[in-house]
Amino acid sequence: MTTPPIRLRVAEAQLLDSTRRHFFGQCALGLGAMALNSLLAADGLAAPAPQRGKVAIDPAQPLAPRPAHFEPKAKSVIFLFMAGGPSQLDLFEDKPKLRELHGQSPPASLLAGRRFAFLKGNETLLGSQRKFERVGTCGMEISELMPHHKRIVDEVCWLRGMTTDVFNHGPAKLFMNTGFNAPGRPALGAWATYGLGSESRDLPGFVVLQSGPRGPRAGASLWASGFLPTSFQGVPFRSKGDPILHLRSPEGVTRQAERDFYDTVGALNETRLEEVGDPEIMTRINAYEMAYRMQTSAPDLMDLSQESQETLDRYGAKSGQPSYAANCLLARRLVERGVRFVQLYHTDWDHHGDQANNLSEALEARCREVDQASAALVLDLKERGLLNDTLVVWGGEFGRTPMGEVRATIGRDHHIDAFTMWLAGGGTKPGCILGQTDELGFGIVDGKVHVHDLHATILHQLGFDHKRLTYRFQGRDFRLTDVHGNVVQEILS
């Protein structure tokens, strides 16, 4: 079975809102809802109402779509997070000079003021063993490890001047996801759904998918809603078993019995609503209805056997087998269904040079796992007309050093001063290369993009002025970019 263009279907469904509860349907969609919102917005979710950020949330439908500050270029975001920090110097940054000076000590001037996690100071420069090729009209350098990326060089926008503030995995991942290096702040995806709501009626607005041998460091804090209401927190879909926690009805409860159960709970809640008049009960009724729908929509989403063999092959995915490739395909299916923010984590890019984490087999294996599917996702979105309003982001929490780190083999340490990420779609310039690093790859010469800038740009594409998307908490208007961030205009089409 193939699915019709779901975005259309969803929009239609929202118009027709065929809720079985006509009584509340009237109030929920009509004047009543408006008034109740103002009543509740003041009281429930965001008391007191934020003064400047002002996102008007309908507490009965916190995920209902909302207008942004201006017309968004991107309706959805897919963030492909390469946890551990991929080596830009072996994938995207060809440095002949580094090869030439291989084995020599780096110039002290380049090291001054830099902080590293594990380097002790006696390490020497490490030229990449990998062959690079200039490809595409844009002439981007791609290493032999990423053959499929060569097919998308002119579709994506390259950021070679990325920089971040923190060099340990946990804090750096938090920084890339929440703009702050300690847990407790809302994730990018939470901000996006807080600002825009979601187009999906049947699925959460912010979904997290994960592949690789273990979870990313910092865990749930990476997709937390922080001080924002929990409606906006990322919902991790599990690759095995039920995709959402507690999705499955208890043993012995059939679908039909479940419908009766939800009707019964709904009837009891309606009775109480009439008695006490608390609009929060209406929200609860809506939440139960969505829960019921999710029981079928989530497994349906996960069922990759609905995809053609050709599509599966293109991504390198197999139905029923969890993998990064399968997650890329799921990301497309989520976006098709109107989900606002999809985040993939693929772990184990931390190639220090341990036996298992080296720049040879291990890096090759990681590249094999993500190269084909990442490229396939971009091309597939493009062919389906979804790339225009879907922003794809690829990258890790930091890059890796030009010096070799001596462990079991030679690897590279964490490098925060210059690394590479790429964006595709969502109003970014295809085939654009921004940023240049020095000839050894230590620092950025031109086109610097700080994590806060990236965040400001992503919010901009979603239709927000990052300075005005705020939430008032403990006496302060908080924003994703804190007091920083500039939209990177050069990469916008």
């Binding site: 109030c27 004047l31 009543g32 008034a35 009543l39 429930g44 979710l45 008391a47 007191p48 003064q51 594990f118 340990n168 995995h169 946990g170 804090p171 847990p183 273990r214 979870g215 990313p216 460091r217 910092a218 865990g219 749930a220 937390a224 209401p229 929990t230 409606s231 599990r238 095995k240 926690l245 507690h246 208890p250 012995g252 409860v253 059939t254 019995a257 009766d260 159960f261 019964t264 009837a267 009891l268 109480r272 008695e275 008049g277 608390d278 609009p279 009960i281 009724i285 939440a287 139960y288 829960a291 999710m294 036996q355 984490n357 291990a362 079991a408 908490f473 403990q474 006496g475 302060r476």
Partner: protein, 1005 residues
Amino acid sequence: MANRRLVFCGAVLSILAVRQSSALAEEKLPERISFNEHIRPILSNNCYYCHGPDPKHREADLRLDEREGAMLSAIVPGKPDESELLRRVTSDDEHELMPPPASKRERLSERDTAILRRWIEQGAEYEGHWAFLSLRQQTLPAVTNESLATSAIDRFIQARLEAEQISPSDPADRSTLVRRVSLDLTGLVPSPAEVNAFLEDGSPDAYERLVDRLLASPHFGERWGRHWLDQARYADSNGYTIDSERAMWPYRDWVIQSLNEDLPFDQFTIDQLAGDLLPEPTKKQLVATAFHRNTLINEEGGTDKEQFRHEAVVDRVNTTSAVWLGLTVACAQCHTHKFDPISHREYYELFAFFNSAADVNNRGEAIAVSRGEMFGHPVMAKPSGPDPEDAARRQAAWEARELARLDGMAASKVAWSPLEYLEFETKGGASFQRLDDNSLLQDGRAAPKDRYRIVARSKLEDIQAVRLRVLTHDSLPKQGPGTAGNGNFVLTDFNFITAGQKRPFQSAFADHEQPDFPIRGAIDEDAKTGWAINVGPNSKGKMNTNHEAVFILEKPLFVPADQTVEFTLSHELNDNYLVGRFAIDVAETAPAEPLPYETQVVEALTTPRDKRTKEQARLVAVAFAKAEVQRQSRKQESTTSDTAQLMIMKELDKPRETYVALRGDFLRPDKEVGPLSPGGLHVIQPALPAEPGRTRLDLARWLVSPENPLTPRVTTNRIWMRYFGKGLVETEEDFGTQGTPPSHPELLDWLAAEFIRRGWSQKDLHRRIVTSAAYRRSSHARSDLMEKDPRNLLLARQERLRIEAEVVRDAALAASGLLDRTLGGPSVRPPQPEGVYAFTQNSKRWVAETGSQRYRRGMYTAFFRSAPYPLFTTFDAPDFQTVCTRRLRSNTPLQALTVANDVAFVEIAQGLAARVLSELPESNVADRLHRAFQLALARPPSDRELSVLQGFHERQAAELKAEPERAALLMPHSHQRLDASAAEAGAMVLACRAILNTDSFITRE
């Protein structure tokens, strides 16, 4: 029903009307302009950013937050037309206009400028910010309707209501009230007997006695302790990414006990902030200081300890300020606060109080506390000689266990399969000789700290265990098996890799270990620990002989036939302490860990008791005694044991120097300013003078000195908030100039002053609030109030409040009768869905409890910051990374799925069904449904509610009758001794599930 719809929607329409009419009300200006009420919000929101306390951002050298500065050039008192301020905010010239258009701030409204004008006309008097001013003595206001204002609290509220011509709602009905006050004071739903006792008690003080009983309940301390623990950011793990378990529960127990004892709030404060600095502190006072040891510890490799020590101090400053002062000082961490007059420097003077704690991103100072100790009845290891009878019984049990293990080992003989070595090399360039017995002998050319790498093919496709045999050889010193002069080696790490991924081991054991060099050291990824084989004074084994170690994989592994396996042996500790000769085998099953006994002990054990020789009996007794000792020491280490090593505060002998950190960056101390002494905030009168030698104790005493107005205001406001859904000051976390002013300023000051006058008794405050008429009112919505006071700020009615995450669980457990009411102790692990840790760095040990521990209150559930128990996150519990003074109340589909389908709640529904079936064996379905409803909601169902439930039950029972296998799934075996038919029992489970899923159940009405 049609009628009701009209009323409902009609009410809604009228709100819209009111919103519009409020624009008209704006035209009327207040007669007397108050700086705090009218002027400060205008100046603070529009001017202070550039003309406020922050000198770095101050424009034109103009300061409007102080009268002195404003009078210099901007304001001429009494003469609005000569005042530059008024001219600039009304100017039509965009270069003159303030705030400047470039700031994106909107032009002041006409009303605002009119207010400014009148204020200047009236003399432009400034007032200090209300929250920083001393508590004002309050006289009780006069009210017209005395009968509605019998308590002091009610006089304040009634006076406001009368002024606005609003009549308060009627009192809630008694069943609602008993459920409300039980949930609020204990977090539990009342039993039907408790409800009935209250309903049938006709005496005038029935309610007051109910309140006294609840305040005296030990569960009061749990309920209010949980609120406090939110502020203390209490959790059971270290945080950040490794997030390993820690034992903070004695502190949690101290909080519960202190609240139950009604420890005065000033002492409660001092003990927690500075108990360690009191002269001769009691143990409880030391335990209390764990308050500030709830900060995170980053255990990640490569971490800068100083950085995370700094983070912890920052958190202590911010937490102290948020909890006691209701102030956000975090802004001043990086720059001078733009709106509140807290300077960058003052922030670091506060910081200095906490900067000399001894802990450095580590455990630091700790004390042993045993279970129950905080409640005055410690569970301790038996002090003098254990009861002989008890010992005999335990020995018998131990023997039976050990024999079973012996049997098990015999039964699970493991078939080891040798590997086919394909590549073998070392990093240092040595090679190996493959001997006929399929072992590898190193050729002697290895580097002093070499790493071996072996690639091999396995005949087995399923691997669960690996065996490393180290073997003697004539070519090795003293025959080896190691290359050290004495034949020893230190294997620092042993790793197993397939498909480019490391496959972690869950455990390892060896037939012989050198003291301090256990085999565990070879699988902990720590190069400073490892496995060696020399002998110690008590060693049973020898060094220079064959030994073996077995490694069990965390997860059984599938290795396709075409894939190779790889092993590495690292020797990173001592030069030339390498393994000389070895062999590696694999197995499909994991062998049991061998018993640590020599042959004669095993023989003695296997000999029946009555046939043992004296010597054999002695051997067994000795082995048992050893096992007991080991068990005790393991218990000490384990966080779930009866004793915890609780982290507490300790001050360094020589204080650290504190500098202003530029932009909050700990790497950039502003040395020019020089080291700071602990100091205070000058805006709060009396400010704590900055004198050298001040300590946390001085800070704590200042916080609770009767002259400090913030602590009592903030504390009473927060307690009030829990009862009404919001505080009298809505921004309970921000009493600064950006926060909202109090809705009832006189009431707040009266409560705060009474709090102090009554010896800081929290229970007294609770009693006053819950016995007020305002608290006892109905929470039903009223259409007239939707017009006049849509947000219920004037408290004409109560609020319906969704109960907190833990209480959702507690209430359900209490209703079903499953609740284990034990107080305190180590945290527990109720069942949780699989896969919670799929997303975290390190899996947590989570073996679901059996027996009644499964049904402990939510607050005792082990809380891992990186992977919280899912129920809690879903219902808005914070992750306890930082202070939480107020939880959100969201309402999401994930909450619906949790109560409907979480195993824990399904068990509770089954428990509730079993309860009504067994308590009412003779009754009909309607009576049972009635009882279940009553148990959950403390009120009888209405006719309509009962008929909805009955219809559901009837339909489901009919279906289940036809499908008995489904019925059996719904009501598990343990409950099937009930007389009801399986279909009836199954339908009752479903009906109970429906009751627990109603909005009313998770709401305090």
